[in-house]
């Protein structure tokens, strides 16, 4: 810094930073739309503590529909999965829980103003987003675990055909405190604070009905908007693009066969329009990964790290041609993407919809980071989907760098069609005595 108070600072960082901010200003709304931060602005007394500005707070996804939001909905920057035990003591309590969740989620995802209360009482809301909340792209997706279909609520005969308690795969080291649950809430929004606000609202409004069992928060790195071409898939904490091979969510027929339950006559009728949700907390050993040669990293995944293209392609969305590489000279036979989806005739029915977030929790006793992937996938058939794919992956070279430590299997309830409907209504009606 200059010693002369009357000469302008020559600190190169200051100049660079100013130019950088001007660049942001030129990029205009696009940057703000990405929720990256505040655009450049004139001198402001409150510039330091003023809230960061976003232009996407009004973004809202309609709550009512055949399917719940949060599955085909574009994945926003922040997400979490919260697994709960249901404390309701009977079916009446369970129905009250599902109706309350429906009512709260409808309000939270649309936004609005909380009622004012006599200040002698606790306020109706945590207030962390102010008295009026914006939807901010919020979705809340409610799913049920196999344990809810025990003797407590008379649901045993209506259990979705493939719903089961998750069992460990060979590379898993499952921690009981981070596994399973009667009910899962997947909460996603443009910002982390919006997801936390929704969670606190839901828990405050369901006392005696829900007890949180575990919670895993995650994020997705944002990218600037593009003028043309598909938006690239987001990267995981190993630096690779994730979700490239997802089935086309604009293809309604494909979604009906791969994602939404309803095609299988063996499934209980109430499950129509729902989906199987798999959640896995997958620790990544990032320090070790960062000390692994790039060529090996790419061979482990089967993709180029920078572009995300398959090893025999140039663009992320190029389709690998394994038939032309039967011995795995270009893409090793045990590369992650080749095992997960061999692109062979008949394998289409095993495809799953990946919708993961990255997580970072803290530090282990050895000084290494506890970070990794909050893996979330949806499919119409749990057995044909995740379980089949994961069994193909057992023993893959990637296992050296990852370890699943938690998660669970859940069944995502069909959507709430209108204001007379509520989450789980079809299930409760199908099991009424």
């Amino acid at each position: 810094m200059s010693d002369q108070p009357d000469t302008p600072s020559r600190c190169p960082f200051t100049l660079d930073r100013r130019r950088f901010l001007q660049g942001l200003g030129a990029a205009g709304a696009g940057v703000a739309a990405g929720g990256l931060g505040r655009p450049a602005r004139a001198a402001d007394d409150h510039a330091v503590t003023g809230a960061p500005v976003s232009t996407t707070t009004a973004q809202a996804y309609p709550f009512h529909g055949r399917h719940q939001q949060g599955i085909l909905t574009p994945r926003p920057a922040a997400g979490m999965v919260v697994a709960c035990d249901v404390l309701a003591r009977n079916r009446t309590g369970l129905e009250r829980l599902l109706r309350t969740l429906t009512e709260r989620i409808a309000f939270l995802t649309e936004g609005g103003t909380y009622p004012e209360r006599d200040p002698a009482y606790p306020p109706a809301d945590s207030g962390i987003l102010g008295p009026t909340i914006a939807p901010d792209g919020l979705t809340v997706t409610v799913s049920l675990g196999a344990s809810l279909f025990d003797a407590r609520f008379g649901l045993a005969d209506a259990r979705p055909r493939h719903l089961q308690r998750m069992t460990g795969f060979p590379n898993d080291a499952l921690e009981p405190a981070r596994c399973h649950g009667d009910l899962s809430l997947q909460i996603c929004a443009n910002t982390h604070d919006t997801t936390l606000h929704a969670l606190r609202d839901l828990i405050k409004n369901t006392p005696g009905l829900l007890m949180v069992r575990w919670k895993q928060e995650g994020t997705v790195p944002v990218v600037p908007p593009r003028d043309h071409g598909p938006t690239p898939s987001a990267r995981n904490y190993l630096g690779f693009r994730d979700g490239t091979a997802n089935p086309d969510t604009d293809d309604a027929t494909l979604m009906d066969s791969l994602i939404w339950t309803g095609g299988d006559p063996e499934e209980p009728a109430w499950t129509r329009g729902g989906s199987y949700q798999v959640v896995r907390i997958i620790r990544n050993y990032v320090e070790r990964w960062d000390r692994t040669p790039l060529a090996e990293q790419e061979a482990v995944f089967g993709r180029h790290k920078a572009s995300g293209a398959p090893l025999d392609g140039a663009q992320e969305h190029d389709t690998p041609d394994y038939a032309a590489d039967p011995e795995g000279r270009i893409t090793p036979l045990d590369a992650h993407i080749r095992l997960a989806n061999p692109r062979t005739p008949g394998f289409e029915k095993h495809r799953i919809l990946r919708r993961p977030f990255n997580y970072s929790n803290g530090v282990e006793a050895n000084g290494q980071f506890d970070m990794g992937l909050l893996f979330i996938v949806y499919q119409a058939d749990l057995q044909a989907g995740f379980i089949t794919v994961q069994n193909r992956l057992n023993g893959e070279p990637l296992e050296e760098y990852i370890q699943p430590v938690g998660g669970g299997y859940f069944f995502t309830l069909p959507g709430v069609v209108d204001t007379t409907d509520y989450l789980g209504r079809a299930l409760l009606e199908a099991t009424a005595t």
Binding site: L87, A120, P122, P207, G208, M211
Partner: protein
């Protein structure tokens, strides 16, 4: 003048100084009697607390490990019942009831004293060796507490708020079993907190029973649910003095069964001050 009417007079004076919110449906004068009765309840419990603490600390000083261990939980109960008042004296609360987590150096911290320091010696190290100074300090703290409470004007908002505060205690530290981690006598403390909360609710219940019968019924049902679960774990069904089994023996299912009513009680009782215009 009886001690009770003296207390009522003192409490009435305390209330006059209070800026009562105009919106209250309950006349501030109506609070005088229950607040005075609550002070009597606290003083009775303090009296018993001093007596039990004397036996407990003497057993330690006499090196009678078995007796000291058996008196640990029955002594604490009295403190747990009156915690909303005892906590008004932060210095004593720290020296009587702090846990090792409150200190960066944990059990080795020289400031770590009181019940849980003694619990560590009696149940983890299994000896009374070196505990006499802590016992002496505890006894003098307990006596100090008694004399300070006697001279205290009970703030009504604090008294009424105590019903919820005690359930917050249960929800935060009792259900998890972290309060009495060496002795596993958590259920005694649990019962003490519930007793104290229930007493406050019972004292103020007449002021809201007519206006909000559904609220009163829900609170009573949830207290009953907690009591029923606690009853499973009593050593002798008809003798409350016999106490409870180790918290390690409480099933996960029952721990969860306690969380439900405890959370609803914490939520409901958090509105008690508002209902009474405090």
């Amino acid at each position: 003048m009886s001690s009770r009417s003296l207390l009522i007079a003192a409490a009435a004076f305390g209330l006059m100084a209070l800026q009562a919110p105009a919106r209250a449906d309950v006349e501030p004068e109506a609070l005088v009697e229950p607040v005075a009765d609550y002070k009597l309840y606290v003083l009775d419990n303090l009296d018993a607390f001093v007596g039990h603490a004397r036996d407990f600390t003497r057993a330690i000083e006499a090196g009678d490990l078995e007796r000291a261990r058996s008196l640990y939980a029955p002594t604490r109960v009295y403190y747990e019942r009156i915690e909303p008042v005892a906590e008004l004296f932060a210095d004593l609360d720290a020296s009587i009831d702090a846990r090792e987590d409150d200190y960066e150096k944990g059990v080795d911290d020289p400031d770590f004293t009181g019940f849980h320091r003694l619990e560590y010696g009696l149940f983890k190290r299994q000896t009374t060796d070196g505990l006499a100074p802590y016992a002496k300090r505890l006894m003098s703290d307990v006596q100090d507490l008694e004399s300070r409470v006697q001279g205290l004007t009970f703030p009504p908002a604090r008294v009424v708020g105590g019903a919820a505060a005690l359930m917050e205690e249960v929800a935060a530290t009792k259900v998890s079993g972290e309060e009495d981690r060496y002795s596993h006598t958590d259920l005694w403390d649990f019962q003490g907190n519930v007793d104290g909360s229930q007493k406050i609710f019972a004292l103020f219940r007449p002021l809201i029973a007519e206006e909000d019968p559904a609220f009163v019924r829900r609170v009573e049902d949830n207290f009953a649910a907690v009591e029923a679960t606690l009853a499973h774990y009593r050593l002798a069904a008809d003798d409350p003095e016999a106490g409870f089994v180790s918290y390690e023996k409480v099933s996960d299912k029952d721990r969860r069964a306690l969380v439900g009513p405890v959370t609803v009680l914490a939520e409901d009782l958090s509105t008690l001050r508002g209902k009474l215009g405090l």
